[in-house]
Symmetry: C2
Subunit: 365 residues, 2 copies
């Protein structure tokens, strides 16, 4: 964590307090400008290939019965975040909530009644101050794992990810350059695998060595640290990122969040999304192509069907190939888990499926 | 993975097939003996301090309409498990299901219709063959993280867990000696932390260095690899294991599973449980002792209360101190998350709470 970067972020946060002081001196109503984070202010930027926020903002003022509490909450959270920068600490959303919670004066009123009140304030500040949550030193879960020809530096330690057995390095939640720096990377691409099971298969079979790639997993929907590390490897090291997920609407969605970002966190796409990411599978064309029997498919349920239809309407799934992909799933009535490849052979993923996919450049964009 | 150990396990599995061949030769009904895995055959061994299985077994025969399918399934799973040993591979429960699923002959009958049919068969074999799931090469989730003065060897790589920054080593699901060996350990104790957030706090503050301990987390209910590694450190390196969980019935339960094992997997306690494990908190006495305000407590809901009352009746919670602990929670009507310690100070856990707990030996057994 660099003192320099902390000072910059702290200055932004202290700027919030300055607004209040200035307004008080001038006997005016303290007002802060917060970008609007609602669907109406989100759009898909086709050229950049990311979901991003529009320009709309709203004012939050103190002398306004409807806004006074939220204003106070914003300043309290800003204060806690500034404390983190000064002490060079990181924390979680939940701990920010607990840290800033107290009873006001002699009243029975709490500053915050639940984390659902403090989380949006943190998001407000992320957008308002143009600071990624990680730069505000707020962690999410870790829970990602990485292995491959890559050397990182974390807290002064040099970590060679090609020498960590089959276990690998546990990806921290915050992988900004002042926390984790990329010292060396000789890989040709990143393979981002949805599930830990398949990541384990590939690690055990040393797939990363034979194909000179980085194996990354988030053990499910990838946490922020995993997405951000993949983005950095893509942006700074120019590595293609291939995404391997289950063949179901949730797999498609995980891929789309990695690639374009999400509607809810549209303001982060510009630093989290990987518009060049490619979908290597499972595709709804794969069961036929790779001879998976129908009985290892799982019948789509109502939720799956509804979700697939939603995806059909998203602007970022409008490419012909994606419409075909979705249509094919819906008309087959089946979804397939990555695990189903084991029906052929325990090592089918490593020895047949991925080698063929990569050789044929058989992916969706 | 040692060829030797594989050969021993494979031999046990092949023994299953031999039973069938022998019976066929003698024109008898093939029969295998399976220990009974039901509540009636589970008891708490007070002397050993673990939940263990009794001696009851049942016969599974082929020439019996009610048992023929299950017999066939047992042989199929045994065959897949033997394949893993021969090829020196590991896999997941789910992939075993897919691997062994096929349609029988010209019928429309599947060997397995769901994983709920193959999982119990794997458990049968674990118990019947006295082989831990890990020895059968069946993985669960990874998802644990470790840091501290410990050197491991994994797949030929020497991994110094004191030189992995704040990220740490991602604990694999299988940490048996032929997968992960403990090369060096100079720690004084293991701190097993329920939540990743607090683990991150302790890693960031280098708590492990100051207190010469190993920091281990499973990011929630600890997965098997984490439990087994803690157990090995306790058994082989004689390290005390302290468990830090939320102050709620689920936290107590997580602790009790680490310590005594669980009813469902009673047959594994003798290789997974850590009867010497101590509960360092959060205790229901801590909010008062450490001055946590009532408003950072969370009201117990109906489920919490019902669960706490169940715990009061478990034989392994009968010690006076535990009855008091549970009663105190129920009468306060509140539960507290570890995260609530941040109300005092972001580093309260590292700088005040744990140092005092350890100095005062303020734990429950």
């Amino acid at each position: 964590m660099s003192k320099n970067k902390n000072a910059i972020v702290e200055k932004k946060l202290v700027g919030l307090a300055d607004i209040v002081i200035d307004a008080a001196k001038r006997k005016k109503d303290p007002t802060i400008e917060i970008p609007v984070r609602s669907l109406s202010n989100v759009k898909f930027n086709e050229k950049k290939g990311i979901i991003e926020m529009g320009e709309n903002t709203q004012e939050r003022t103190f002398f306004n019965v409807a806004m006074a509490k939220k204003f106070m909450q914003t300043i309290l959270v800003g204060d806690a975040l500034a404390e983190l920068q000064r002490a060079n600490l990181t924390t979680s959303l939940r701990e920010i909530y607990y840290r800033t919670k107290h009873t006001i004066g002699d009243s029975h009123e709490n500053t915050f009644d639940g984390q659902d009140e403090s989380d949006p304030v943190i998001e407000d500040l992320e957008v308002g101050l143009e600071a990624l949550r990680e730069e505000l030193h707020v962690r999410a879960d870790n829970g990602g794992t990485i292995i491959g020809p890559l050397v990182l530096e974390d807290d002064g330690d040099r970590i060679d990810c090609s020498r960590l057995g089959k276990g690998g390095y546990s990806v921290p939640s915050i992988v900004e350059d002042d926390f984790v720096s990329i010292k060396k990377c000789t890989a040709d691409f990143v393979l981002l695998v949805e599930k830990g099971t398949q990541w384990n298969r590939l690690a055990e079979d040393r797939f990363w060595k034979k194909y000179n790639c980085i194996l990354l997993t988030g053990n499910g929907q990838p946490p922020r640290g995993v997405r951000r590390l993949a983005r950095r490897l893509n942006e700074e090291k120019k590595l293609p990122v291939y995404v391997l997920v289950d063949n179901d609407p949730w797999g498609y969605y995980i891929y789309s969040v990695i690639k374009q970002g999400s509607i809810n966190l549209a303001f982060e796409s510009k630093r989290m999304a990987i518009p060049q990411a490619k979908f290597v599978g499972l595709s709804s064309a794969d069961p036929e192509k790779y001879g998976l029997p129908r009985n290892v498919g799982i019948k789509l349920n109502e939720k799956d069907i509804a979700r697939a239809k939603e995806l059909q309407n998203y602007p970022w799934f409008q490419k012909k190939e994606w419409q075909l992909e979705l249509k094919r799933m819906l008309s087959s009535g089946l979804k397939f888990e990555l695990d189903a490849l084991a029906n052929k052979d325990f090592q089918y993923l490593t020895k047949k499926y991925l080698p063929k996919k990569l050789a044929d450049k058989d992916w969706l964009d």
